[in-house]
Amino acid sequence: MIDAMRESLLAYGNTGLVAWVVLKILVIAVPVIIAVAMFVYWERKVIGWMHVRMGPNQIGPFGLLQAFADVFKLLFKEIIQPSSANKFLFVLAPLIALVPSFAAWSLVPFDAGLVLADVNVGLLLLLALTSLGVYGIILAGWSSNSRYAMLGAMRAAAQTISYEIPMGFALVSVMIMTGSLNLTEIVMAQAGSKGFLDWYWLPLLPMFVIYFISGVAETNRAPFDMAEGESEIVAGFHVEYSGSAFAIFFLAEYANMILIAFLATVLFMGGWLSPLQGWITADVAWVDWIWKGGWQWTFIKAFLFSFFYLWFRATFPRYRYDQIMRLGWKVFIPITIVWVVVAACLKYFGLVTIGA
């Protein structure tokens, strides 16, 4: 059906090609936006339960429409520009924050063959795209011409650079194991007959933990949300933003969070592979994805990881700035450097089976 649609659009020449590309982008972008809206609702609900509160419960059944009400409120509010802000960069900054976080979604494989861009250097491209998002934050901080925003931006820049290194090493170990940077091949390398023990989380356990913690730090979320630190610098880099400009920052941050959850799934938890792989062989319609694997597993695992974000936020107090830097440079980087060598040895001596 998809091929037929592609053919019918390409028949119109260049216009059809553009339409096809736009369609592909929308197929990814629209669900991401809706997922972000529902994730915000879920976050407020979960944190509410953890605080023994109700959470949003007024708008729609169970408060389900709360997120959309918030969106409409933000969209209709006035965007106030500080009088001595750099006008051009002030408007550009939210867009720069948004574009890389959406572009990275095109690389995520949801199922075998279900990926928008099956790139050979996928892993590297992901790292590059996620590191571009920090420009939005820095520019927002600088162009607002406010001390609080500036401090938030400086903190965000230092933190993102620091945690990119352990994150990169974690990706290197995955790359060593697989021998490829292609995300689909990375998932297929985790297939096997030992169920969930075949996934990379087991041989690369420290890397897996460090990757996820670095992901939390990279997206500036609690307990590493020094860039926003309400108690010290009001709201950090977006203190001068209001209305839809603020909404775009919000969207980019949450899209990044969900992306990190999906990536942790794909890189370390076997993507769409089933945790029961190889243990059950039966053919039953509708439910055999449970042991054969399918996109459902990707979403279940990613949902679990995104839940960890909320759990962390409700559980841990915010780190002190020097503690964040110490954790990144003095704890994570040495551990990852050692484990890259360990991973190479595991691979070289054939202690880990790669692929089915």
């Binding site: 050979n120 590297l124 820049a157």
Partner: protein, 204 residues
């Protein structure tokens, strides 16, 4: 005109314009951002030339890390750059001369003749590998010694930079986070037992 050629002209124009504005823009932060744009469009040009790894590595290393730190420094510096740029027009001939000499040197190194001959077949394609695999095999098998030497030189440079910058400061207060974490209640709080005061006694 093919789509690729159109993209090449677009990215090439953006790169040239951005590179020119790096040296002509007044605001130093905007100049740094123009440099970012130059790097980014060059990365796109390399992607078009099917050097995927180089293109993405350029975006990752220079745009994603080096320029962020550079912006960091430029934003923190409280320097008025206007006087530094005053001699821009006066020194322009010298700059152009240096640029021309560099161009001539580059042409001598690469050779004018290679510019006229059509490019040879993509070696990665000939070997039947992806660009990335071919680069990896070439770098780590055929050129392992130069690669290692380059890595060693960079490490030495890194250590030298750190040593040059490290100086003893006398009046700094340092925290030891591992000791802070290990602290126990007994180290900080002492519970003192006191006899209860009795009724009727005059308070001191």
């Amino acid at each position: 005109m093919t789509f690729e050629l159109l993209c090449f002209y677009f990215f090439g124009t953006v790169a040239v314009v951005a590179a020119l504005s790096v040296i002509s823009v007044k605001n130093s932060v905007v100049a740094a951002l123009c440099l970012v744009l130059t790097f980014f469009s060059m990365a796109c040009v390399w992607l078009l030339a099917q050097a995927e790894f180089l293109g993405v590595a350029l975006a990752l290393v220079y745009v994603g890390a080096v320029m962020v730190l550079f912006l960091f420094v430029v934003m923190m510096l409280d320097v008025d750059f206007a006087p530094l740029r005053e001699g821009f027009v006066r020194f322009l001939p010298v700059g152009v001369l240096v640029a021309v000499v560099m161009l001539v040197e580059m042409l001598m190194m690469i050779g004018v003749r290679t510019l006229q001959t059509p490019p040879s077949e993509d070696p990665a394609m000939l070997a039947g590998m992806s660009n990335l695999e071919w680069l990896g095999y070439t770098l780590f098998r055929d050129f392992i010694l130069p690669f290692e030497i380059a890595a060693l030189i960079l490490t030495v440079g890194l250590i030298a930079a750190v040593t040059l910058n490290e100086r003893k400061r006398s009046h700094t207060k340092l925290q030891n986070p591992s000791r802070q974490v290990m602290v126990k209640r007994e180290d900080r709080v002492r519970l003192v037992k006191m006899a209860a005061e009795k009724k009727g006694e005059a308070a001191p």
